[in-house]
């Protein structure tokens, strides 16, 4: 990935001040205008007060990473200035109310009180930013119109006035203009976060039931599904607890509804017995785990990649599984779909591991071809099975014909105890071995079909960055910057972290002078797994576990020492 001219706008303020509203509105304007964005949301575990930021990195070309330097800092409170002044670029601009922002070079001390009424200050700020970024006001006006069209004319008018007020105030002040380069071409893009893409991917795969118990940062997945529930025909049920959620999903899936759960570490811990049940009963279920820093409640609104091992070994007993770890919003969509397909085909639990950063990170994505993509079709054709029907018939690849209860005269018996091929519980130890082997054989197919890590960069790099999940963008950009400064560099990114097939990546690891694992955790969970599976011990490690996403700058600084 080539380094792109990009600008970062950060809006900071207290929870409840509406900074996310400003951020989302501005982001959408930018996306509609054809820009690429990377949004990073940093928020505290509280509803009002504290200090949150909504960072929009924007560029005419492709970008994929969050960064620290700030070009435009929009401060809704004085605290924002204190906290983030240090991250301003040389030419950086502080935008804030005249009551706390000085009138000096690099500052826009805005008399918001004069420009707009209190409840419209945020809209005025958007207008102002349109001017600062040099993107005109048309798109903003159109959006305000759409946004408030359900309300009355007056609301629209007031907001439009505020928008224009902010815009005009800034237009007159050239010293605060930080115009964006024109967008490349105006191809249709959507603004979508990782979690929204997971939800959309699930819908396109045909999800019919999502059971959840609210937990940051996973909740926006069911919420997105709920917003589509009526038209998409999905049941999204808030369960009494996470245990209920996964058992509900498994029950639904058994009965023919492609089903999922979404949770975070602590909630997932409660689902682990259910994971084992899905494996034993061979019931497809998609489990999305949106990681946040632990242990225990930890930092509930921050990001981390420390639950790979827990997910990999979740469940008592031994059984195969697949774990996807999307690196960007597109992968969220496609891997959510893939998860449903894999779960249905292999009849068991399949995981999507994401994290708070990616979950909340909006990007400009091409519309997904949802009209062309196939859905998952649960169960086999009742006419295709042998009579008497045996739910767990021993087969070469371990995959038995799955029928749905009630759909035919064949009775479908699914068992949590060890069972015979017909599903009834048994204590015959020979049957045990046959069934266990059958289940484990599915792992061979899963291994064969595993997604090889993607490789990007120089063919013979000096530096190879190895990463998984949401670190992808930062790694790609770090490698790009290394290349810009004359170091051959590449990235090996795992979007499926289990099963691993060393045959497909070991060669990549062996050449480079520096191979560096970059992970959002303290212990290097993927690196350890690669070591075990391939024998290759990645010599250098970059870790981050302070709750913030890994950035290109973090990688480059860590590489230096």
């Amino acid at each position: 990935m080539k380094s792109e001219k990009a600008v970062q706008v950060i809006i900071g303020g207290e929870a409840g001040q509406g900074l996310a509203t400003v951020g989302r509105l501005l982001s959408l304007i930018l996306v509609r205008l054809g820009y690429r964005i990377v949004v990073t949301q940093s928020y505290m575990s509280r509803i009002r007060g504290g200090h949150n930021t909504f960072a929009i990195r924007v560029s005419p070309g492709e970008i994929a990473a969050p960064v620290e330097p700030i070009d435009v800092l929009v401060a809704l409170t004085p605290e924002t200035v204190d906290l983030h002044r240090g991250d301003l670029t040389e030419d950086g601009l502080i935008v804030g109310d005249a009551s706390f922002v000085e009138k000096r070079k690099g500052c826009a001390a805005v008399p918001f009180g004069e420009i707009a009424r209190e409840q419209h200050v945020n809209t005025a700020a958007v207008g102002l930013l349109c001017s600062v970024l040099g993107i005109g006001l048309d798109m903003a006006e159109a959006l305000v119109d759409e946004t408030f069209k359900k309300k009355n004319e007056q609301v629209i008018e007031e907001n439009l006035a505020a928008l224009r007020g902010g815009y005009e105030w800034a237009e007159q002040r050239e010293e605060i203009h930080r115009p964006l380069p024109a967008p490349r071409r105006r191809e249709k893009r959507l603004m979508m976060s990782g979690n929204e893409a997971i939800a959309l991917g699930a819908l396109s795969a045909g999800v019919r039931l999502c059971a959840f118990y609210p937990m940051t940062p996973s909740t926006s997945i069911p919420l997105t599904l709920i917003s589509a529930a009526g038209e998409a025909g999905v049941v999204v049920e808030q369960a009494e607890d996470e245990i209920a959620a996964i058992n509900m999903a498994i029950g639904a899936s058994y009965a023919g509804a492609p089903a999922m759960v979404a949770t975070s570490g602590g909630g997932f811990a409660l689902m682990i017995e259910g994971v084992s049940l899905a494996a034993m009963t061979e019931t497809p279920v998609v489990v999305v785990v949106a990681q946040r820093p632990g242990p225990a409640t930890g930092l509930p609104t921050r990001t981390e990649q420390a639950d790979l091992e827990m997910v990999l070994y979740a469940g008592h007993g031994e059984f195969p599984r697949a774990i996807f770890a999307p690196g960007d919003v597109e992968e969220c969509f496609y891997l959510a779909r893939q998860a449903f397909e894999t779960a249905e085909h292999y009849q068991g639990p399949v995981f999507v591991l994401t994290d708070q950063f990616l979950a909340d990170s909006a990007r400009a994505v091409k519309p997904f071809p949802v009209e062309e993509l196939e859905q998952v079709r649960p169960g086999a054709d009742p006419d295709s099975v042998k009579t008497p029907y045996r739910r767990y018939e021993i087969t070469g690849d371990g995959i038995s014909p799955r029928l749905l209860p009630g759909a035919s005269d064949h009775l479908v018996v699914a068992g949590s105890d060890e069972h015979t091929e017909d599903g009834h519980l048994t204590e015959d130890l020979g049957a045990r071995l046959r069934l266990a082997d059958k289940r484990l054989r599915k792992g061979l197919g899963l291994s064969r079909e595993t997604i090889a890590p993607s490789y990007a960069g120089d063919a013979e790099p000096e530096v190879l960055l190895v990463c998984w999940g949401s670190v992808k963008g930062a790694a790609l950009e770090a490698a790009g910057r290394l290349r810009d400064s004359g170091t051959a560099a590449a990235v090996l990114h795992f979007s499926q972290v289990w099963p691993l097939d060393p045959g497909r990546f070991l060669d990549r690891l062996r050449g480079p002078a520096r191979v560096i694992a970059v992970e959002g955790n303290a212990t290097g969970q993927l690196a350890r797994l690669i070591h075990r599976e391939s024998g290759f011990e990645i010599p250098e490690r970059i870790h981050r576990y302070d709750g913030l996403p890994i950035t290109p700058g973090y990688i480059l600084r860590s590489m230096e020492g």
């Binding site: 996306v31 893009r189 603004m191 979508m192 959309l200 819908l203 396109s204 045909g206 019919r208 039931l209 059971a211 917003s227 589509a228 529930a229 009526g230 038209e231 998409a232 025909g233 999905v234 049941v235 049920e237 369960a239 009494e240 245990i243 209920a244 959620a245 058992n247 509900m248 498994i250 029950g251 639904a252 899936s253 058994y254 009965a255 023919g256 509804a257 089903a259 259910g274 049940l277 519309p367 997904f368 949802v370 009209e371 859905q375 649960p378 749905l404 209860p405 009630g406 759909a407 035919s408 009775l411 479908v412 018996v413 699914a414 068992g415 949590s416 105890d417 599903g423 009834h424 519980l425």
Partner: protein, 283 residues
């Protein structure tokens, strides 16, 4: 319409003399009376001696985790409301490990029937106190007697607003069959708590113990009066009522979920046009 025979005859792993046999018999009679065919029926169970029962029946079976039959059943019912979904498990499973789901199931009121083999003991794990064990009940694990108060499932269900709450006793199979059939016919969450003596581990609440106490609710009993029902359910001592203790119409969960109005979730096609429209909202 199925005959009792269609529900099969299987070898069981139960102790000779166990109340589960009569329960199974009464259940089959009830199923036959309910007019359900094996293929229409889905039994969802947890783990325990009771939870093995569905394996001894010709029907669809999802034998899940200890304590977790209710949520699995809820999921299955929502996926395919054409199925008659019956949860069948033990007192430990349903009221102990699964207590939170019991609360939620009553509140949710999905059209499920829950049949509890209530032997007032943990059978399969060899005789520890269960939530329905009486305070003071002595077991190996509670040598000083169970210290906690007995959980009374029917009183609790009535108090929590359940729409159909019945009690039965395996010593009166005909009545049991009737309770099962009525519970299945009831639309909404229905509970049938069935006294089922455990001959191996419960030496207090024996067949004779129940037999002496259980009486059928009189014909004039009005199950629609929840306050009276609570009072009646509270009877515990020399006389214990069996029958439909409480019955009321309640909004059924499925009716308030728009996504279910278009028929079963199972087998539904993705409406790609609508999905495409939905996607446009992100633009």
């Amino acid at each position: 319409m199925a005959t009792i025979e269609e529900f099969g005859e299987y070898e069981t792993a139960w102790c000779p003399g166990c109340g589960n046999f009569a329960l199974l018999e009464g259940l089959k009679q009830g199923l036959a009376a309910s007019g359900r065919r094996p293929r229409d029926l889905l039994f969802v169970s947890g783990i325990g001696q009771a939870a093995k029962a569905p394996h001894y029946l010709n029907a669809n079976v999802f034998n899940g985790l200890h304590g977790r039959a209710l949520p699995a059943a809820t999921g299955a019912k929502l996926a395919d409301p054409r199925l008659t979904v019956i949860v069948e498990s033990g007192d430990g499973c349903c009221y102990g490990e699964g207590g939170n789901h019991f609360l939620a199931a009553i509140r949710r009121n999905v059209d499920l029937t829950m049949i509890v083999h209530d032997n007032m003991i943990y059978g399969l794990t060899k005789g520890q106190a269960s939530p329905t064990s009486q305070r003071g009940h002595v077991t190996k694990a509670q040598p000083g007697g169970a210290a906690a108060e007995r959980f009374d499932p029917v009183s609790a269900a009535i108090a929590l607003g359940a729409g159909f709450v019945a009690r039965a006793f395996v010593g009166d199979t005909e009545h049991l069959a009737q309770m099962v059939a009525e519970a299945i016919a009831y639309r909404g969450f229905s509970l049938v708590d069935v006294f089922q003596p455990c001959v191996s581990f419960n030496r207090v609440n024996t067949f004779a113990w129940y037999k002496k106490r259980c009486y059928r609710l009189p014909a004039e009993y009005d199950p629609s009066d929840r306050e009276a029902a609570l009072r009646r359910a509270g009877e515990w001592g020399d006389r214990i009522p069996i029958g439909v203790l409480c019955r009321a119409d309640r909004p059924v969960f499925e009716d308030s979920i728009p996504a279910l109005s278009a028929g079963p979730l199972a087998g539904r096609e993705v409406d790609r046009k609508k999905l495409s429209q939905f996607q446009r909202r992100f633009g």
